[in-house]
Symmetry: C2
Subunit: 109 residues, 2 copies
């Protein structure tokens, strides 16, 4: 079902990148704007944004000579889905739903 969550998990493992996500949650920003919020070079921030893009956690749209980085909340779904595997509560809910539907549809895990 869920795609390889490795890229997203990797992207989330760094505190700077998680902070960037909270910034982009407020508003889309150019690379320079994001860089202004950190005590590191623009090149370093650019690397973090690249890794966030690889994890599909942000969208990047060129606008003239700028690149607008925005949050992609959907990209966190693979991570949430993977975690849900260990959440007994939701597992039970899904099992109940499965029994309710009882259509015998394919369900691979």
């Amino acid at each position: 079902m869920t795609l390889q969550p490795q890229a997203a998990f990797r992207a989330l493992s760094d505190p700077t990148r998680r902070t960037i996500l909270t910034l982009l949650d407020d508003q889309p920003m150019t690379i320079a704007q994001v860089s202004d919020r950190f005590d590191m070079t623009r090149a370093a921030v650019k690397k973090h944004l690249t890794i966030l893009k690889e994890g599909d956690l942000i969208r990047v749209e060129p606008r003239g000579r700028e690149r607008i980085n925005s949050l992609n909340p959907e990209g966190m779904r693979p991570v949430r889905d993977w975690l849900s595997h260990f959440d007994r509560f939701w597992d039970d809910k899904l099992d109940a739903l499965k029994r309710t539907i009882e259509t015998g549809e394919a369900d691979n895990d």
Copy 2:
């Protein structure tokens, strides 16, 4: 409020460690038992287990000369909580609930 999720995020960033969590979800295992499931040395697996423990994702209980490692699903709560910050759907639900509680009125939508 949620604790620092860094240790948990870091623990989850490695695919071997995520696989270990799925193994321990089935049943508690000794270090040697976990090691048997991987093509790497026991020392390497031990390191992974240490990092998982630091992230509070597993419990470790000495039993004689063995150490029983078991899953700690509660340890994933800081991660889930952090992720929920970006989940507009649940944010809206919680906001609605908050309004309902504060006003003491029914919330029909």
